[in-house]
């Protein structure tokens, strides 16, 4: 008997699939991957169970961010086609349950991280959750077109947390990994926001294409891709990684810049004609996975 037939589905105990959807599993996969890379490139090797726990805590922290984001943005999600099927706007869950789940998961992940690895890693995890929920979701996102620029820091924490979980201290390489993700986030999200900008406009979110226009956003995407390329090459230029990483980062970043240049040259205003933007968005996900994989492979080859 489908729950949708009920008079008030939100009054039911939430289905476990909806609880899982609250954690944004697809976003979590990239967070887990970058956290794992931070852990694997660290010079100290943790026992497997502690490494697994560190990654689990990063995943749970990301899940808490997803749940608290959906709790706060339930009204906005209801206005956007892309997000209207989520458990809260679709009425399959009540907001209070999402809030309790998110806060509980956040506390649990930080506590477990501290007990299993070290309290600096736990503090960084707590900071990233607070930054994502308070600074990005509540403060910046509804107020400024630079929301994704500053908010990108929240998504850049995982490799730093992974490294600190293994070593207990901060170093130059994880800070560069932080910088790469921080500078990768704007072109990645602005490419997406170009072809779903009507959704953002309908929800009243001041994303760059809505506030500053399409051509300005394309210019910003191109400029950020150049700066991101410099950050991606920095580990090799500073002698923190080998030539395998350097050559791969150069090729991967060159393709990124070429795709960003195509976005810059595109004059289309209709989402259906935004092929270059869709290609850049898809490639940007591959780019980050490939870049971090090569970095780990390079470090292992060197050792």
């Amino acid at each position: 008997m489908p729950a949708a037939e009920l008079t008030n589905p939100a009054a039911l105990p939430a289905d476990w699939r909806d609880i899982l959807a609250l954690t944004k599993p697809r976003v979590m996969s990239l967070v887990v991957f970058s956290g794992l890379c931070g852990l694997l490139v660290a010079p100290l090797v943790l026992p497997v169970v502690l490494g697994f726990t560190a990654i689990l805590c990063i995943a749970l922290g990301a899940g808490a961010c997803g749940a608290l984001n959906q709790w706060y943005e339930a009204d906005i999600d209801a206005k956007m086609r892309r997000t209207s099927k989520r458990p809260l706007p679709a009425g399959r869950m009540d907001r209070q349950s999402a809030l309790h789940f998110g806060v509980g998961l956040a506390f649990f992940s930080v506590l477990l991280m501290g007990l299993a690895t070290n309290w600096l890693a736990a503090a960084l995890l707590a900071s990233s959750i607070l930054f994502y929920v308070v600074v990005y979701t509540i403060w910046l996102k509804p107020r400024t077109a630079q929301n994704i620029v500053i908010g990108g820091a929240a998504g850049a924490f995982p490799p730093l947390i992974g490294w600190v979980a293994a070593t207990g201290h901060v170093a130059a390489l994880p800070l560069l990994l932080f910088a790469i993700i921080f500078l990768w986030t704007p072109p990645h999200f602005w490419a997406l926001s170009l072809f779903v900008r009507s959704d953002y406009a309908a929800a009243g979110i001041p994303m760059l294409p809505v506030v500053a226009g399409i051509s300005n956003t394309r210019r910003q995407i191109f400029l950020y891709s150049l700066v991101m390329t410099a950050a991606a090459l920095a580990p090799w230029l500073l002698g923190l990684s080998g030539p395998v990483y350097g050559a791969s980062a150069a090729v991967l970043s060159f393709v990124f810049v070429v795709l960003a240049a195509r976005v810059l040259g595109n004059r289309a205003t209709e989402p259906a004609q935004m092929g270059p933007e869709k290609k850049l968005f898809a490639y940007s996900v591959f780019y980050l996975f490939a870049l971090f994989t090569v970095l780990v492979a390079d470090r292992w080859l060197a050792s």
Binding site: M1, L12, P13, A14, V49, T53, L56, L115
Partner: protein, 44 residues
């Protein structure tokens, strides 16, 4: 939908959730056990 139908859905979901949370709790206990072993071995 009648009252019995609604009650049946509520009970089914409660059973499903109880089973999943039971497994998660068990996995957590096992994880804590291995964390303790690993940390003892590392002399932390």
């Amino acid at each position: 939908m009648n009252k019995d139908g609604e009650l049946e859905i509520i009970r089914k979901r409660q059973r499903e959730r109880a089973r999943i949370f039971g497994w998660l709790l068990g996995a957590f206990v096992v994880l804590i056990f291995f964390i303790t072993i690993a940390k003892t071995g590392m002399n932390w």
